[in-house]
Symmetry: C2
């Protein structure tokens, strides 16, 4: 029997990631699993080798020298296999993948990240399509779609959960002080959208806060309300994902933070990711990028 000392191979990835981050929680995030799963796999590996691979300090996890050494070997070995697989695997067939996405998320989240996509997934050409609601892969010639699970998904689609929806009021920084006063959001104009008319109601229901506005205004899309909010017209209610970059740049603030509304965004695909290397790569990239939306504790 070859490889008599070979530990269980499924423990290697969690282990390597844990050493690299010196943290199980971080490794778990990278692998899109819970820290418990990583913890158990690392324990498996330790049990299999008969030695301890980490110094468990209360706050930090310190890989032992042996662990570093093993991790380096594993990293190297997996690199080789990865390279070989890449060389061998099906050459990406021609034709771009078409990805359908809600217009606002498209404009304020996905498009700004296209350069990153081009760098990290260079072989896959993407065609973007703004759209929402029910997905018809065949009819609309769509390969992938990002959708919120507020309607039933087609049975045959393969789905991957991306991130939880979190909504909250956003406005220009100088308006924020007025909002947090006793009168709350009632002081200023509320900005509504046609595409998600219930957004403010949802928020009121979830937070229990009142919002009797001085005036109201309805615009077609979230991204228009964001424009208006940034211009100081009033307060918009926005998903964290679409507001994120503006918050980071300081163009908007979210005085009340964001709250989950119970829905999540999913990636729907015609073929399962395993069947098509391009779909798999794109899925991996999206999962990676969106996981930060999940884990961000947003600036308040």
């Amino acid at each position: 029997m070859r490889w008599s000392a070979l530990p269980p191979v499924n423990t290697l990835l969690p282990f390597e990631a844990t050493v690299r981050h010196a943290s199980m929680t971080a490794a778990a995030q990278e692998l899109h699993v819970t820290h418990g799963a990583v913890s158990r796999q690392v324990q498996n590996l330790e049990r299999s080798l008969g030695i301890s691979l980490f110094e468990r300090q209360t706050r930090a996890l310190r890989p032992t020298p042996q662990a570093r050494q093993l991790a380096a070997v594993v990293r190297d070995a997996l690199d080789q296999i990865d390279a070989a697989a890449r060389q061998i695997a099906q050459r990406t067939p021609a034709g771009p993948l078409t990805l359908s996405c809600e217009p606002t998320l498209l404009m304020r989240w996905l498009i700004p990240r296209l350069p990153d996509l081009a760098v990290n997934v260079p072989d896959v050409a993407i065609h973007l399509s703004a759209g929402g609601g029910p997905v018809f892969f065949e009819r609309d010639n769509i390969d992938l779609a990002i959708r919120r699970d507020d309607f039933p998904f087609p049975e045959e689609a393969s789905r991957t959960r991306l991130f939880a929806e979190r909504i909250g009021p956003v406005c220009r920084p100088d308006l924020a002080t007025r909002l947090t006063g006793a009168a709350g959001v009632s002081q200023v104009a509320l900005l509504h959208t046609d595409t998600r008319p219930k957004a403010w109601d949802d928020w009121r229901r979830i937070t229990g806060m009142k919002a009797e506005p001085a005036s109201q205004q309805t615009l077609e899309h979230f991204y228009l309300t964001l424009q208006a909010a940034a211009a100081g017209v009033g307060v918009a209610i926005a998903p964290y994902a679409v507001a994120r970059d503006d918050l980071e740049r300081g163009q908007l603030v979210a005085p009340f933070g964001f709250v989950p509304d119970g829905t999540s965004y999913h990636l729907l695909s015609r073929q399962s990711p395993e069947q098509d290397g391009r779909v798999r790569q794109l899925t991996a990239w999206l999962r990676d990028k969106t996981s930060q939306l999940e884990n961000d504790s947003e600036p308040v």
Copy 2:
């Protein structure tokens, strides 16, 4: 995300073995699983890479050049990990492992294979102990035991199935012609043992054959009856495992072959194989060696 092309790691071992043997069935035997399991894992890998890795000819399986290439890389990568693990893993603590085994199996199967054990599992010192029946790890200071499942095993023991018991009459080659005549085994002396007094009854029940002997003789152990049989005293009933080497050398023949009696041999161990590298190695070696007992179509 690292390793974007990395296929599922658990598919790699079955794949590598399949390429090496150019056969799924052979790979399955090596890995102690069914060919179906290997088939599915290979399919997983192919699906993940998007290419076919074998030319399925009806009788033979021909790995494609890509498959050979990938398998070589995998082999190499696993070698590295194996070596690193070996270096790191707990240095074998002092003190031999004690293995308890039925006297006959010990003398006629295990002891002849000790040289092979010494070559393939050099780091593990073994202490052998002849014994049967219930296993008391603590009391008898036993680490491992090979036992037939004709009595309940201790609950806490970790068990690994080794091979199915098959029994059959054996005798000196020149006696065989007399046996296969109309009179059957009735012509010659039947050799019994104290340790398995029901063996002949079992065989009669299973095969439906008659065995009214001219005379009978009882000896203490199977290996004594085998001695007697080889000396031409009569016909002994023996497990295939203990008769195997004598059959191969031509000292005995089994004119009626061997039939499963429904029981199996198991390896019982105090610690689970994963917890102790020595136990794991020894278990692997035993599984490997005993699998041929399972798969042999014995010489008739």
